[in-house]
């Protein structure tokens, strides 16, 4: 099926089987391999991307469902010059080790801070509880997200 959507500001058109997940479409058809697949049943959150501004598990969505939407992946939240304030905060707080869950953490945290730049630690934990990390124990991830709030409040993100 022909499917058109915008990804990271770029219009794309792909021809996909109806059963193809959106995660596989991003990774293998569009070669946006920053989005990771950790469970394929919607528990781990590694494949989280932003669809029309909302954090969505791309493994639980079919590629054809993306038709007409605006999609942002971790690549779209990054730039060549350096790290964004959210990414820099993750680095400062050592909020990643193996890096596999990290793209999903970044997209999820970005969606949260964009909507609720004043969120508290409990709210951060609640939202991130849908993303599994096996390395960090989450403490540093929560600190990193809290520390990045200032950039979202001041609009310097």
């Amino acid at each position: 099926m022909k499917t058109r959507f915008e990804v990271n500001g770029r219009e794309v058109e792909v021809v996909v089987e109806p059963r193809l997940t959106f995660a596989d479409c991003l990774r293998h058809h569009l070669r946006l391999t920053g989005t990771h697949v950790g469970c394929e049943h919607g528990v781990c959150g590694a494949c989280t991307v932003l669809v029309d501004g909302k954090a969505v598990r791309s493994c639980l969505m079919l590629a054809v469902q993306a038709d007409g939407s605006k999609v942002v992946t971790v690549e779209g939240l990054s730039n060549d010059e350096g790290l964004t304030p959210l990414q820099a905060s993750f680095r400062k707080h050592h909020a990643l080790q193996c890096g596999f869950c990290t793209p999903g953490m970044i997209t999820t945290a970005h969606a949260l801070l964009s909507e609720e730049p004043d969120c508290d630690a409990d709210r951060v934990r609640e939202v991130l509880s849908g993303n599994l990390c096996r390395c960090t124990g989450y403490v540093s991830i929560v600190e990193a997200v809290l520390d990045a709030r200032a950039a979202y409040k001041s609009g310097t993100r």
Partner: protein, 756 residues
């Protein structure tokens, strides 16, 4: 230029790619002409293969071929033991594909190669596999009855018994003034990595070379195994380490797929990729931990431990595979933990069952033995009317007793001793940090509907396994340096840590360490890898040797060039000078390289204490961690930022094992926890309040860095500390947790048992 990068918290180099989605994991690789492998796995725990018909699958759209044992006319290769390769284990080793019998749910039976994963999975449905079921062995007790046998030829389900011995425990028990015997057990966990396993193999028929991507942990060992199995010289195989999404002991061991995918690539003359899905991962990656201890302690009435003895039964799963015996060895060797125990007699029994084979998982055998002993100590202290803190204080090994000898293990002839440390000092610091003396009065008190309790647990962590490690330095075209390592990255920050060590050793700014390459087999002559908390200690010490050798090579080259004696050459990191002031830039020696090695004869032993303050809701069975402190003495911390990350991350894994995680089977050996909705991992809301303090009071006397392996201490004592805290919270109910994990229903049982 004297640097102090070692000891400074440094942000990581690898973060720059991971944070921007630019990491390159094995599933991110794509080459022309790729075939995708999917694996048919046994859905029966124990049975005889009556028939296997792949003709239907071969006709499915997009299917290239199907591989079964019949495609291996020279015999199905067997996966050898990597560690403790005892002759006793030989009959229990795993063929890479099941033929004749299947012995666990998830055992590979056939490999479908197709133009896409989806088409391959479609074709799995068309394979006719008939299995005549045999009585399944779902646990160690059934195994011990030897009624049904996994391996009929051996006549027993017991593959081995490890004997840990020190002094004469039986004699001490005969006359002991006090003894207590307990039965304690731990759940079945695994080192679940967020990135499932994956292999991509490319066969280059024209040159007879094989390239295998997705290597991890021990690529040099695995190349040796693969070369032998597939009939190629080691030099014809290149193992490539990509970014690795977590290891924890489980990833990177040699699994059936590590043969099957390279074999498939050669068989089809096409590149082949296999990526495990999560359900496969839960039933195919090494399991760990499941052990039951029947142990006894002897003490004086004044609270001095005299002896330990007993039996520990390990549920090994269906095969002895690569490092599968390590946990069962450690659980008896380290049962005494950091305590002075002069007499030990513990037998550790390895029982084969119809479950996924076991391997190491971070703190193998150590998490289990720590839980067993630390629970026992709390019970004993109560019996003797001695405060449990005071009891531990009296029995912790002191620096004056170092090096302190531990139990000798047969038949592996494992003799070891602790290296250095005042274990009581870390203990006191941990108590101080959590405010033990002020909070102790809360134990057993009901506050706002929850019972509060404190628990403490002391641990020892072994690290720096030998025999050696290799590192190489090379001068780049621009006069910067590249580091090449025989050890591997599983996500622990190797590139940053080795840049710190190299910059200090070479006395150059850290940005002059341009690249740190690791893992792949073409970087150094011989590598060993990332296990037993060894990378920093072993690889770092090898890097110091490589620096000495590179400096010697620079001096020799400089002497030749400048026409002076090598001893007159000075190196300042950017140029090479003679004593008369002539010089040339280091970049002119581009390509100059030197390897270094470090041989190790002694393990390192970091140590410390965990203390937990919990609140337990007796109605919901929920355990909340109010505060949790780890104090760990690591000898020398290379990067305190990443080290704290190791400790806290490990604590949460340990608390997962203490409260949530269990790989469940039914009585038929059917696997019941095949998704992440069934096998529960800690999430961000579960354990928010965790702290750690790193100390460097007793550097290792046995390596030039003074560092001790420290990646596992956070997990080792988590079960003991948590369970002791729950015991003291629920003291009004007389609760004594004897099994992990302490799920809400277990907590409810602990509360209800006394009431009912």
């Amino acid at each position: 230029m004297k640097n102090t990068f070692i000891g400074t918290p440094m942000e990581r180099r690898e973060d720059l790619r991971f944070l921007r989605g630019r990491g390159e994991y094995v599933d991110d690789l794509k080459v022309e002409g790729l075939l995708y492998a999917v694996i048919l796995r046994s859905s029966v725990a124990h049975g005889r293969i009556a028939s296997l018909d792949t003709s239907g699958a071969r006709k499915c759209p997009g299917v290239h071929t199907v591989i079964t044992a019949k495609d291996m006319p020279e015999g199905v290769p067997i996966i050898p033991m990597r560690l403790q390769p005892l002759p006793e284990f030989k009959p229990y080793e795993q063929p890479v594909l099941a033929h004749e019998k299947v012995r666990y749910v998830g055992e590979p039976v056939a490999v479908v190669l197709a133009e896409s994963v989806a088409l391959g999975e479609d074709a799995l449905e068309a394979i006719g596999l008939e299995i005549e079921p045999l009585p399944a062995i779902p646990d160690h007790a059934t195994a011990a009855r030897n009624k049904s046998l996994l391996f009929e030829a051996t006549g027993t389900n017991g593959s081995l018994v490890f004997h840990a011995r020190k002094g004469d425990a039986d004699a001490v028990f005969r006359d002991a003034p006090y003894t207590r015997r307990e039965r304690l057990s731990t759940g079945r966990h695994y080192g679940l990595t967020m990135e499932p396993r994956g292999v991509m193999a490319q066969w280059h028929a024209e040159t007879g070379r094989l390239t295998v991507s997705g290597a991890a942990k021990v690529p040099f060992f695995n190349r040796r195994i693969l070369a032998k199995q597939i009939g190629l010289p080691e030099a014809a195989i290149e193992m490539i380490e990509n970014d690795v999404g977590g290891g924890y002991g489980a990833r990177g061991e040699f699994y059936p797929e590590d043969f099957l995918i390279p074999f498939a690539a050669r068989h089809t003359n096409r590149p082949v990729k296999w990526i495990e899905d999560r359900r496969e991962n839960l039933m195919a990656m090494n399991h760990a931990r499941e052990a039951t201890a029947d142990i006894e302690i002897a003490c004086t009435r004044a609270g001095t431990i005299l002896a330990l003895r007993g039996d520990i039964h390990n549920d090994m799963g269906a095969y002895m595979r690569t490092n599968g015996a390590v946990g069962a060895r450690n659980v008896c060797q380290f049962l005494a933990g950091p305590y002075r125990v002069p007499h030990v007699k513990v037998d550790s029994h390895l029982w084969m069952t119809n479950k996924t084979p076991v391997g190491t998982y971070r703190g193998p055998g150590r998490f289990e033995s720590n839980f067993f002993l630390e629970r026992l100590i709390d019970m004993v202290a109560a019996d003797l009317g001695i405060d449990r803190v005071e009891f531990r204080r009296r029995n912790l090994v002191t620096q004056a007793e170092q090096p302190y000898p531990i139990a000798h293990v047969q038949p592996t002839d494992a003799k070891d001793q602790y290296d250095s440390g005042e274990y009581g000092a870390a203990f006191e610091q941990c108590l101080e940090e959590i405010g033990w003396h002020e909070k102790a009065r809360l134990c057993g008190r009901l506050i706002d509907g929850r019972y509060h309790g404190l628990g403490v647990s002391c641990f020892i962590e072994g690290g720096a396994a030998g025999p050696k490690e290799t590192a190489r330095l090379e001068i780049n075209d621009d006069g910067t340096f590249s580091v090449y390592l025989g050890t591997t990255s599983v996500g622990q920050g190797v590139e940053t840590i080795f840049a710190q060590i190299a910059a200090d050793a070479l006395e150059v700014p850290i940005d002059r360490i341009r690249h740190v390459h690791h893992g792949s087999t073409h970087y150094v002559s011989e590598g060993f890898g990332a296990y037993h908390s060894r990378s920093t200690v072993m690889g770092g010490s090898a890097l110091l040797d490589a620096t000495r050798n590179l400096h010697a090579a620079i001096r020799a080259a400089g002497a030749k060039r400048l026409g002076c004696d090598a001893s007159a050459i000075a190196i300042d990191g950017e140029k090479v000078s003679s004593s008369d002031g002539r010089s040339f830039p280091l970049s002119e020696l581009a390509g100059l390289t030197a390897e270094g090695t470090f041989q190790n004869h002694h393990h390192t032993y970091s140590y410390g204490t965990h203390a937990a303050h919990v609140a337990v809701d007796p109605k919901l069975g929920r355990i909340e961690i109010i505060d949790y402190v780890v104090v760990q003495d690591v000898g020398r911390a290379v990067n305190p930022l990443t080290l704290k990350g190791q400790v806290i991350g490990a604590v949460v894994q340990g608390l997962g094992g203490a409260c949530l995680e269990h790989l469940q089977y039914d009585d038929e050996g059917q696997f019941l926890t095949g998704s992440l909705a069934d096998y529960l991992l800690p999430t961000a809301t579960d354990f928010p309040n965790l702290r750690c303090v790193i100390t460097e009071n007793y550097p290792s006397p046995d390596n030039p860095l003074g560092a001790k392996g420290a990646g596992e201490g956070g997990i080792i004592a988590a079960g003991g500390a948590l369970a002791n805290a729950v015991a003291h919270a629920l003291a009004p109910f007389g609760a004594e947790p004897r099994t992990l994990p302490l799920t809400p229903s277990k907590v409810w049982e602990l509360v209800g048992r006394k009431k009912g």
